[in-house]
Amino acid sequence: MNIASFAPLAVVLPILGAALTFLLIRHSRAQRTVSIALLSLTLLLECWLLASVWEGGTAAVSIGGWLPPWGIVLVVDQFSSLMLVVSSAVSLAVLVYATGQGMADGDSDAPVSIFHPTYLILVAGVSNAFLSGDLFNLYVGFEILLTASYVLMTLGGTGPRIRAGVTYVVVSVVSSVLFLIAIAMIYGATGTINMADLAMKLGDLDQGTRNLLHVLLLVAFGIKAAVFPLSFWLPDSYPTAPAPVTAVFAGLLTKVGVYAIVRTETLLFPGDTFNSPLMVVALLTMVVGILGALAQSDIKRLLSFTLVSHIGYMVFGLAMSSVAGLGAAVFYVAHHITIQTSLFLVTGLIERRAGSSSVDRVAGLAKLSPLLAVLFFIPAMNLAGIPPLSGFLGKLGLLQAGVLLGTPLAYALVAGGVLTSLLTLLAIARVWNRAFWRKPEDAEHPDPVLLAAPGGESQGTGGAGTSSARHTVSLLPRTMVGSTLALVILGVALTVFAGPLFRLSGQSAAEMLDRSSYIHAVLGDEVTVPAPPQPVAQGGGK
């Protein structure tokens, strides 16, 4: 009996919630209560899991009593439990935000009743992918979250959403097929799909086969994580979805892909065979992504491009395959999930307040709604990596690891990272100048709500307090602002507690590169862990 015995609950509780909310489809109040309660419970459970592996150690549980190389195992280690906690916290905040939005709009124009079950299924899929110790179960986790995301992406079935949804579904299905092909080939080559068992057996294959399997997995996960040449689909499809959906997609879905790449690189295929190509790809992801962001005038699209660009930082960190680099990447993933989601939530609020999310039309928000300005400013500066905030700390860790590695390519990436950070600041400053500081009269086609007399402000920010508010849609409902505020505070908390968090991610990186704790937890203590093909510490020579 170990703590991992409770790990399946992280998947089962959201699925149970989905079933309950589906039954309660006609009772929206009960639906809201059930989904928020179950998600909070899941978050508490995951916090407990994280606390129990905080000092190190890995625990595994075999589902249904089938022993590891044959049955499915769920593995709790520091990395997976950290990801679980951050993702659940973020999805809880987004859920509250979405219910706030639904209440404010009166649930009239969209089939919101299926939002809750689908959303909980999405959370279950994400948890399953993070916990899975079995390659096929990872595939199933991906499919669960993807299928839920198809529904959320096309919620309401309007023209633009269907158009974006088609691209998204086709690209995702192709990447899933690639992943499945990789699984079939791996099974054909080794006769197992348990990840710990694979870590033992993949080393015995000849180099050519290993490289083929490795590249197949990297391409399949690269599409999901939106790494540069495979990132074309993301900025087209994310911005059209409803604001909370975009926020949770941006925060979680690509990070599940990054998580899978980290596992592939550390557990299945250690060594530095593909480190140089990964670094080149990381550099291109960062620079091309942020250049795309500079061309956009829609805030949501701009943020989608910065999302792609910052995936490059994580790939950079893991491509170094050093403890410092991987640790910083783990920290960066946790930071980026929180920040990117809160920025998208704030953009949703901007869209409500100003009637548009295009920087050409939005203006004067700093005066109109100072709270909104603060909510945007903190995560925006955090994303750009301005010193005291966690974005700076994560980037600093990555740059230090890059300098420590000391190869020309690593220095190129360090330079690219700094450049990307500055360009992010430029893109964000453009939004800030136009949407918040510019006078409404200067905007190209300002929304009438911006030009209205300042007297309308009290009604706008105050919520639905007045009697006439029954008929007008409240512009900034308290629940939506509150959940966004909570997420911004979580982002600031990541800065305040960056010390312990950095230590945790460093430890988890060391454990992942060592592999023995993972393999021992799954297969038992008596197996001898094979050494990686090349020594990792001196791996940067090429």
Binding site: V140, P160, A164, V173, V177, L180, M185, L451
Partner: protein
């Protein structure tokens, strides 16, 4: 490991047709392509199990090597269910596209086209700011100074360029959407 050549050939043909169909612009063909790809992959998984053996029901006196490998079949079953769900969803989307747009084609992203057509010149960021030499405001550009100014990639009449310099003069015209004057 030995493999069945017939299965392998069928698989190859399915993959080829699937990828060909996937590259079409018509959504129904794309869907057919995805279905072919999924089925080809199922065959691939089946192939990894090796030649067919006995049904994997435990009997004491059977040699373990004589059984079929049950795991690939379990995997195929799962992947069939998943591709079934995705196919149904895709059909729904395609029908919805047809209802909305009366066409069965992949449409271009409107915002993509808009950004692609936007000139690199941005009136707000890049326009030449008229130098104020006197403390009195500059007179507006004379109406008859009909020359053209090179503004970024395009030529624009001087009067129009001047209008862009004076915020609010042109953009809040009553017929514009959102103008409130």
């Amino acid at each position: 490991m030995s493999v069945n050549l017939t299965l392998l050939t069928v698989m190859g043909v399915l993959y080829a047709c699937g990828i060909y169909l996937l590259l079409e612009r018509s959504l129904t063909r794309v869907l057919l392509g995805l279905m072919l790809l999924a089925n080809a992959t199922n065959l691939l998984i089946l192939t990894t199990g090796g030649y067919a053996g006995l049904a994997p029901l435990f009997a004491k006196d059977t040699d373990p090597g004589a059984y079929s490998d049950p795991l690939p079949q379990a995997l195929i079953l799962t992947s069939i269910v998943i591709s079934f769900a995705v196919t149904a969803f895709m059909l729904g989307i395609i029908y919805r596209t047809w209802v909305l747009a009366r066409q069965d084609e992949i449409q271009d992203d409107a915002e993509d086209l808009r950004v692609a057509e936007t000139p690199s010149f941005d009136a707000e960021d890049d326009a030449v700011i008229p130098e104020e030499t006197s403390e009195f405001p500059l007179p507006a550009v004379e109406p008859d100074a009909g020359g053209t100014i090179l503004a970024g990639a395009r030529q624009m009449p001087a009067s129009e360029a001047a209008a862009e310099e004076r915020p609010g003069s042109r953009t809040t015209a009553p017929n514009q959407e959102g103008g409130s004057e």
